[in-house]
């Protein structure tokens, strides 16, 4: 293992669409759960208990195994004041840490800027998937965005090695920074320069990789495998990100079957990733955050659940102090906020914990203030 991988790495898995917290960590002993979920409920008999009150949805069995090994922090009742129930706005808030105005800078983009202020490594942050999530976007901060790790490169179709070398030289000159460009063109030229640099390095990762771990064929598992490949290649990457595609956790209808399948894929992917880290003796260096933009309405709508607040997040890794953090929000009608679970800890506290205690950064300017940190690290 190259020395630069000794630095801590944060992997973020975004569960887009608003994961139903109540059917993920289930308050199976609470009569109010059964009352509010006449149709869209997890059978209490099937829940994998954490204690006498709450337990895992059985689809999370592989994560339960990590929990039993003390590697999982469950952040209960996570959210922010005045919850917004629009996917886009709420996800923006999680991405930018700006609940009161529309922000343009992503929290991880800022973290990458602080880790590598002089852009020494264009691969400090890498996203897996198409299009950069706002969490990683800060103008002028290079973040590679990799759709397909195997074929990543610029002008790969130019015939002849000399011709390609010459074309790449020209490309590099055409995209070189120049005065007097508009902001958009400045952004595009920087993107071109970064793409060229990043591609040459990233291409080496899959060839260097060897592992006995089998990942599933779904997008999340495949990108987690790519994350492992890039990490093991020792490229100095500190922040990696991927997203469960298609806003799939938006389970307004037919929730039970779909939610189960999604969590089976995610849990198996996370489990394979952790095994891969073990096999490469790298478990201590990597921490995984799973988050979603909001929880869902307490009362079901007969087949699914509508947008709510008060969600749940997970932090997973060997270095995590496993346990329950935050409080499980009450389902009592007097304690709800417009029919939704009340948040009791601000997501920016979890971010701040990861930024300061894991990545060694000053969290305050990144998350925009001081928030109570949690002791999962």
């Amino acid at each position: 293992m190259a020395t630069n991988t000794q630095d801590h790495v944060l992997v973020v898995l975004q569960l887009s669409g608003g994961n139903d917290a109540l059917n993920t960590i289930v308050p199976y002993a609470d009569p109010l759960y059964l009352e509010n979920r006449p149709a869209v409920r997890i059978d209490p008999e099937k829940v994998l208990p954490i204690n006498e009150r709450i337990g895992f949805n059985p689809a999370l069995e592989p994560i339960k195994a990590l929990w039993d090994a003390g590697k999982v922090a469950i952040i209960q009742g996570i959210g922010y004041p005045h919850p917004n129930r629009s996917h886009f706005r709420s996800m923006d808030i999680w991405h930018t840490c700006e609940p009161d105005k529309v922000g343009t800078e992503g929290w991880l983009g800022r973290a990458i800027r602080d880790i590598d202020p002089t852009h020494d490594n264009v691969l400090t942050g890498v996203n897996f998937g198409r299009g950069l999530p706002r969490a990683l976007a800060v103008p002028g901060v290079p973040v590679a965005s990799v759709g397909n790790l195997e074929t990543y490169g610029v002008l790969t179709g130019i015939q002849g090695e000399d011709q390609r070398t010459e074309a790449l030289g020209l490309f590099s000159n055409m995209y070189a920074p120049r005065l007097g460009r508009t902001l958009v063109k400045e952004y595009i030229s920087q993107t071109g320069v970064d793409a060229l640099k990043g591609a040459d390095i990233l291409n080496t990762a899959p060839q260097k990789y060897a592992s006995t771990v089998k990942y599933g064929g779904d997008t999340v598992a495949q990108y987690l495998r790519n994350i492992a490949q890039v990490y093991f290649a020792g490229l100095g990457t500190r922040i990696m990100y991927t997203t469960a595609p298609q806003n799939s956790f938006d389970t307004h209808a037919s929730e039970l079957g779909k939610h189960t399948q999604l969590w089976q894929e995610v849990s198996n992917g996370v489990s394979a990733f952790c095994q891969d880290l073990q096999e490469h003796h790298a478990g201590d260096n990597v921490m995984l955050l799973l988050f979603t933009e909001f929880g869902r309405r307490v009362h079901d709508n007969g087949s699914g659940t509508d947008h709510g607040s008060g969600g749940i997040a997970f932090v997973i890794g060997d270095a995590v102090q496993g346990g329950l953090y935050g409080e499980y929000p009450s389902l009592a009608s007097g304690k709800l906020l417009e029919g939704d679970l009340h948040f009791n800890n601000d997501f920016r506290g979890t971010y701040a914990t990861l930024l300061e205690r894991w990545l060694g950064l000053d969290a305050k300017p990144i998350v925009g203030g001081s928030f109570e940190q949690l002791d999962f690290i």
Binding site: R85, V102, N127, G131, P142, S145, G157, T191, H307
Partner: protein, 467 residues
């Protein structure tokens, strides 16, 4: 023909369609700009040239494709003689979004996309009514799960937030949470027939049905107006709001004229060109909400004509535009799904936008991943000197005389691609590169490859990312 007329026509065709080869630009410029605008605005006046019957009869493997889905749509965009019909359908698909990841029924979505073709240039009020009765949409945003006494707010909210008014304008909110609930109540009972089971009968589509027993007929207050509103009343109220005129005008501007900020920022960020938006808003009300009338104003306005290369091309525009230019896929052959996959790699999964907000546009199309996909695809196509459109460029340049200067090679390629304009430094780099190979003899064996390589290099410039 004045070069500027052709350059302007190239601009119009990139925006109102997917670009056009040079000979088509010349023919259209000869007809005149305003006449071409009118022709584009009336797609119904001519055949689309898509001979689906022939495809179905003689190309058995295409039958599945003809049932709908992004492959069929891509085929239409590549070959339709009514470019604006496809472009306006693409516009509405990006605003009134449904996604195949949830609908999972290509034939059902095809009905929606055909509705965009049929109604997309008509009254916005009618379009809202059509989409509210569209089975894909009713399923996508769960209106079929919204019941009297147990509303599902999903459609009611997105109708206001993303389909018609937007959350706010000039710093003020456009509606309240109570308006969302009233709106959702008004659309209870707007639901679907249960489709015939998929097996063993084949794929059947669902139809819209109004179920009065499940409709909440109670009194509702919506945007300050109180009555026993039904969904159609709600749409009538929405259509007359100034916020709706603003929202649709900004969408048309952002899609057809120049990149503006993303939709969530519209509440607090004024339009890029307030005067242009005002012209479009006025036409919205004057024409009784007609999109065709708004586009007539738009295409004929100076703010449009002066907005050349003010937009980053979308992936669909990039792929379809490139293929129309190189003249491939004009007759049936395998490979259309691969083109659709290219759009997806560049960040646009046709028929399946990432969220109900649609695709973010402008510079957000470009990141270090999608840039690589885009440049590699266009360079590969334009460097393929066997493709008819590339051959046409080569032959046209060869016809200019026995030799070509390096400068003329660069200029000629830029012109024939649709009068692209390069920054001075980019231009001189390409000329310097061309000079290394010396003057070009148009009858030499290396003439065609040198033109092909120049086209590849132009395709990889920053300027070529724009339309």
């Amino acid at each position: 023909m004045a070069a500027n007329d052709i350059a302007l026509m190239a601009h119009l065709m990139r925006r109102a369609g997917f670009g056009a080869p040079y000979q088509e630009l010349e023919a259209r410029a000869a007809k005149g700009y305003e006449a071409t605008v009118e022709e584009l605005l009336h797609p119904e006046a001519q055949s689309d040239g898509i001979d689906a019957d022939v495809l179905e009869r003689y190309f058995m493997e295409w039958r599945e494709m003809l049932a709908g889905g992004p492959n069929y749509w891509a085929w239409r965009m590549l070959n339709s003689h009514r470019p604006l019909e496809e472009k306006i359908a693409l516009f509405w698909h990006g605003v009134l979004c449904t996604g195949s990841s949830k609908v999972q029924h290509a034939k059902q979505q095809l009905i929606e996309f055909d509705m965009f073709r049929r109604c997309g240039l008509g009254s916005f009020r009618d379009i809202l009514l059509e989409i509210s009765r569209d089975p894909s949409m009713i399923f996508y945003l769960d209106n079929c799960m919204s019941h009297k006494g147990a509303i599902n707010e999903n459609y009611g909210r997105e109708l206001l937030e993303l389909f018609s008014m937007g959350v706010g304008m000039d710093g003020q909110p456009n509606y309240s949470e109570d308006d969302v609930k009233a709106c959702a109540r008004a659309f209870t009972g707007w639901t679907l027939t249960t489709p015939v089971p998929r097996y063993p009968y084949g794929v059947y589509t669902a139809r819209f049905i109004y179920n009065p027993d499940d409709h909440d007929d109670g009194e509702k207050t919506f945007l300050g107006e109180t009555g026993n509103w039904d969904g159609e009343d709600i749409i009538n109220i929405i259509a007359k709001q100034p916020a709706t005129a603003r929202f649709i005008s900004r969408h048309l501007y952002n899609f057809f004229v120049a990149d503006d900020v993303q939709v969530p920022a519209w509440q607090n960020t004024p339009p890029r060109d307030p005067e242009a938006i005002k012209m479009l808003e006025d036409e919205y009300f004057r024409s009784n909400y007609e999109i065709r009338a708004m586009l007539r104003v738009l295409f004929n306005a100076d703010f449009f004509k002066n907005a050349r290369f003010a937009k980053v091309k979308s992936p669909v525009e990039t792929v379809v535009g490139t293929m129309r230019l190189v003249g491939d896929f004009t007759t049936p052959k395998p490979g259309v799904p691969a083109l659709v996959a290219e759009m997806r790699y560049m960040g646009q999964d046709l028929a399946n936008p990432p969220t109900v907000e649609g695709w973010h546009t402008g510079q957000e199309w470009i990141d270090s991943g999608t840039l690589v996909e885009r440049i590699n695809f266009t360079a590969d196509q334009m460097g393929n000197i066997n493709l008819p459109g590339v051959r046409a460029v080569i032959e046209r340049l060869a016809a200019e005389g026995p030799t070509l200067t390096p400068e003329r090679l660069v200029d000629g390629c830029l012109e024939l691609l649709g009068h692209y304009e390069l920054a001075d430094d980019t231009y001189s780099m390409l000329v310097t590169h061309a000079q290394k190979g010396g003057a070009l003899r148009t009858d030499a064996d290396d003439f065609a490859p040198r033109v092909g390589q120049m086209l590849q290099l132009i395709a990889s410039t920053q300027e070529y990312l724009f339309a």
